[in-house]
Symmetry: C2
Amino acid sequence: MLKRIERLLRQGCGIEPGALLIAGVSGGPDSLCLLHVLQALGHRLIVAHFDHQLRPGSAEDAAHVAKIAAAQGLAFVAGRGDVAAFSSSKRMSVEGAGRSLRYAFLFAQARAHGAIAVAVGHTADDQAETILMHLLRGSGLAGLAGMRPRVVLPDLDGSSPIVRPLLEVQRQETLEYCRLHDLRALHDASNESREYLRNRVRLELIPSLEAYNPQVRQALVRLSNSAAEDLVLIEDILAQAWKRTLMDQGRDYLGFDAARFATEAPALQRRLVMRASLQLQPGIELDFDGLRRAEGFISDPSSRRLQLGEELMLVRESGTIYIALGEQHLPSDKWPQLPAESVGLGRGAAATVALAGNWQFTSELADRESDAAGQAPAQDPYRGRLDADSLPSQLELRAPRSGDRIKPLGLQGHTQKLSDVFINIGVPERLRARWPVLASGDDVVWIPGFRIAEPFRVRKETRRTVLVAVYRRG
Amino acid sequence: MLKRIERLLRQGCGIEPGALLIAGVSGGPDSLCLLHVLQALGHRLIVAHFDHQLRPGSAEDAAHVAKIAAAQGLAFVAGRGDVAAFSSSKRMSVEGAGRSLRYAFLFAQARAHGAIAVAVGHTADDQAETILMHLLRGSGLAGLAGMRPRVVLPDLDGSSPIVRPLLEVQRQETLEYCRLHDLRALHDASNESREYLRNRVRLELIPSLEAYNPQVRQALVRLSNSAAEDLVLIEDILAQAWKRTLMDQGRDYLGFDAARFATEAPALQRRLVMRASLQLQPGIELDFDGLRRAEGFISDPSSRRLQLGEELMLVRESGTIYIALGEQHLPSDKWPQLPAESVGLGRGAAATVALAGNWQFTSELADRESDAAGQAPAQDPYRGRLDADSLPSQLELRAPRSGDRIKPLGLQGHTQKLSDVFINIGVPERLRARWPVLASGDDVVWIPGFRIAEPFRVRKETRRTVLVAVYRRG
């Protein structure tokens, strides 16, 4: 057993002999065995006991652990917290609250004493129970991997790794070890309480599964090890896919190449969404159905918007799928936006107007060119050529008004609603209110990104033209 | 429900409307529902019933199914087999024997009628039971994936795919469907028998798990779907790793680059060993411990040989790890081997001897070169330069003899046993008996792959040298 623990400590936990560890010790057989074994293997230890104050007399447990630490010549630190009160104030389960407070104490001790890790006494039996609990609740690969020998938990401070040197040891072995080394373990009556799911799993479910396969605990532990290894492989592919698909990111959004995203395997799509969501909102829990809906969204090019959480959403905008905390946080500097409701251009033909972000509007006077290029709609919808003499004298760049219409060049004088134009050219809804429109009062002259209006087109008799352009600098 | 089935048929099973299917129909509610739904969705069907002859009166079931088929205007075929007898003659479980005979019948019908698939009525409940059985027995990702909507099973004929259109439908829904459409399902009393593991799982284990989570069946089905998707990702990485590491293959062996193999992730190493083993010996079952030992073998450069099955073994030979059905099948053409016990070289210095495979030995006379390169051991251990006048007149290429020793060049006249030389230069044991040795009687002159002997070295006074070489042609 010592050999197995030593190997796991080095290979699985990454701990070399002589390292200073905080040992979390409840006083039960597992943690007493942990303590004794770690000392036997030459590690430096500080014994840390946390009093959950859930039972009268819990303070005596602390005294007992202190005595054991003293007998082994080890430093001892004690902490305590009102777990019941914390649980009800945070609306957490008692187990969750206990875990939260206990680890906060252990990590604080690790920091205070410069320990390189917090060691806890979870055994292979705890592992089997954990995996069963995950299975019952519904779980994918990560849940089946269960507890790992070394882990950093960002949701629990996470300044030190937690290591679990006994994870390949059976609980029965720790009991025998304690008997052999005359370690008097505390009996925790709450371990028998059927109130806690873990206890029911241990006392009722596992024995009933052993009727089907007496080795079921070992089978579950093996499953957890192989799931953990599979997970490493998948994390590796995920990192590659992330690199392939991620185009753009900000504090509150991540933008993915929509076409690439759609060609990734479904399992990768789900994982990319999950990773992005966790990056934007650490700790968020996405259920399987939400991920399925995200998959549907990704594969459907006509999808626009999918709410995944209170704030979290998917948004599709011209070739990009954003995962974002609300649409208002999406980047707007990819598109031209007015800095204010409207900007007058003055009387001259030459003008430069700074738009939001790095965008800019310019207009300049030019002689009639010899070719007839001006007749056709401009190749680049963000550039236009107008007949200078047809233009009204007062132009402005202004926001779209409800009811705005344009007579687009080439449409034989038919008019089109601006709202339809925006849909046609794929301007994201959130950006329509500040889309720059070149106009004179109600007369729309040019919609950047679309076309100029027919009445201001370059004609045979045109002598001077005005070139207008909207572009991003740099 | 019809919509769900239709989608799964197209997307999961790859079946388009109008296709001819063999429907495996026991007469229970699931298979009657399958039959009715497939017809409603416009598929052409042949109803196939297999009589397992495990109960008196089982022939009446066939008649009942025939009547239902006739009522729906469908062709009907019946088969039967003595499952109990087959089970005891093959030492299989009754369930396994029934499955084997039933599918053999269904596949034969598919071939006979040109059907594109065999459809069976497994439901989401069957799926949950399957996954639980795999979990109980001990399983990795593949077992957790459970039954897939479309699968080809090489161990069961496998000439047609099996499709499972009801895999997302609850058993309760098929019961309601039958009631709604007035389909009289047969009651199979053996479904209640606690003799069969599946029945105990359905009747006892699942209800007891539902006490922990009423949605546990759905959780298991979701797990199976996500495991199946993860598996696709991993198969993809596996294919890449296979390409990276596989160097050489024959009918009874696969040779992998040992250094690359050792750098693959453990989960990939296991899967590579599994895939190689299945390729060499289809149907072989490797247990987890065997795979763990294989991992240890791969990571230990001093490992030589590991028996994994009755014939299956891992062998390490100078940079290659072979997975093979016995060492005798490993390729020998990578090394020089004598075609016979010995070959005389005649009296002249010039000789060419064909060795086994494409190998060849040559010797030729050369004038003393001006430089002193001949003094040092040859750079290429498969080439040697000897003093022509020191050589005995009668040379031969012969097999090593027990007790053979050589005085290697540069070892100040010390002698070395040939057996030690072979270990030092890493000649696989199986190839030592036919390793070519240049000698005259008991005097060893040169060991190809090692060195020439001191007494035959090129000296200051050497006038003529003999160049010897062993090499692979082409």
